[in-house]
């Protein structure tokens, strides 16, 4: 043992030196924003929109997602794939929003199309059909368990690799593949009637 009271011996460093060293090493919040969020702004907006497809909901979702990203900004910076993690947070907010919408509709028994603006006459049928399909796909997504839904959406919307999906979901690559495979199998089952009609359309054309 070098000394009986080792903690009383120490490094001689002035308070001024310590202060200046720390000052230069602190990262300000604007830099974090510019590094983490700014390059992904467009992608965040588009990925949320692709899922919720409603301006009010999209704005709310982005607000929620930004709040989570900002709260977890220090952890995100240390994550091996910050981009995938941020996009997962966005899709997570969108998924929550779909589920909330589902609950609300069950309670109020409103048709999803009641409040939608009427489409122009010449495209009325087509728009209506597209909206119905989108609505059924949204319903199917919100029925999926969260991680399965997120994995499928990351794979489909962002075309992320299995590795990136695994990192964002904090699971192994094999688990990510299983989430996607099972998620797609469920979607296939629930949306089979739409797939058939889409095949029929192609045949008729």
């Amino acid at each position: 043992m070098e000394s009986a009271t080792p903690l009383n011996a120490g490094l001689m460093e002035s308070e001024e030196d310590l202060k200046s060293r720390r000052g230069s090493l602190v990262t300000d919040d604007r830099t974090i924003y510019d590094e983490l969020i700014a390059p992904l702004e467009a992608k965040m907006m588009h990925s949320i929109w692709q899922v919720v497809r409603n301006a009010d909901m999209a704005e709310d979702c982005l607000q929620d997602a930004l709040a989570v990203v900002w709260k977890k900004r220090f952890q995100i910076r240390l994550h091996p794939n910050p981009k995938a993690l941020i996009l997962k947070i966005c899709l997570n907010a969108a998924y929550d929003s779909l589920r909330r919408l589902g609950r609300m509709r069950r309670q109020t028994d409103l048709s999803p199309l009641d409040n939608a603006p009427a489409p122009p006459d010449h495209d009325a049928d087509r728009d209506l059909e597209e909206r119905e399909i989108a609505e059924q796909v949204q319903q199917a997504i919100r029925r999926l368990p969260r991680k399965r839904a997120l994995a499928v959406m990351m794979w489909l919307i962002h075309e992320e690799s299995f590795e990136a999906i695994a990192l964002a979901l904090d699971c192994s690559e094999i688990t990510a593949r299983i989430h996607i495979s099972r998620g797609r199998a469920q979607l296939r089952k629930w949306l089979s009637h739409l797939c058939r009609s889409s095949r029929q359309e192609v045949r008729n054309e």
Binding site: S3, R21, A55, A58, Q63, A65, A134, L156, L191, C195
Partner: protein, 278 residues
Amino acid sequence: MNRSNIPEPDLDKLLKQALKDNLPPEAEARMNRQFLNLKRTLDRPEGAAEADEWPWTHGLFRKEILAVASAVMLILGAVMHLSGSQSALAHSIEQLKVIITVSMSLNHAAFMDCTVLNPEAGGEGTSYHVIWRADGDARVDMVSAGGAQTIWISDETISFSGSAGGLIRSMPLKTISPGPVWQPAMEFRAPALLAKNMEERYGLMQTGERTGSGEFLITGREDRQAVEITIDATTYLPKVLKKYALNSDRANGDRVCLMEVRFHWNQPISRELFVPGP
């Protein structure tokens, strides 16, 4: 359903069609507004503090928790109205609410930087600078008339300079603990410890006294000392903690401050500073 019944391309086509990327300009403008709001908050001089508040006011927990909190408050209000002991109950609830919120905020902190001024330690004014990060590492710098010393504490290990100065030694925390001269800083070496002390040791008695805009004061006692903690009303994190000798309370005019601790929260700190070394 058999995979071969519905070929994958059909499903992918259907999903891509339903989730197609056709963001309308109106929705894009509204979402851009959210980015601008956050950036504007960050660009203001007081941005750092406000940005930490941002999740609470602009998003996270905004709807659900506020709704639950409102419902709880309404019920409590009704209970208080019907019962006779309104002020005592309201006071207890208020205390509890504040302490729980502060405790939660402390337990969610990512970085802490605090300065402990302790005029009594060592007799000649000793100051400590404590930095901490959420993975459990802490560093304490002590400056006194006798010089400056540093210790680094991680989950299981404590590191310090040997008597020769430059050589850093690490030992398991089980086998050695910092000497008495370090004790004033030890209760602030981690936010969770401070939260525990606030709940268990400080015996907080009074809450809600406003000390200025954006802050409020909570007070308590610890042994023969009065404890006053100024809390940031937006983040619910402590800004200043002061301990006074109880026998020198307000009646005598100036109070004798035994300890003053000033906190800064969630400003990133370089991991370099947590690595033991000169």
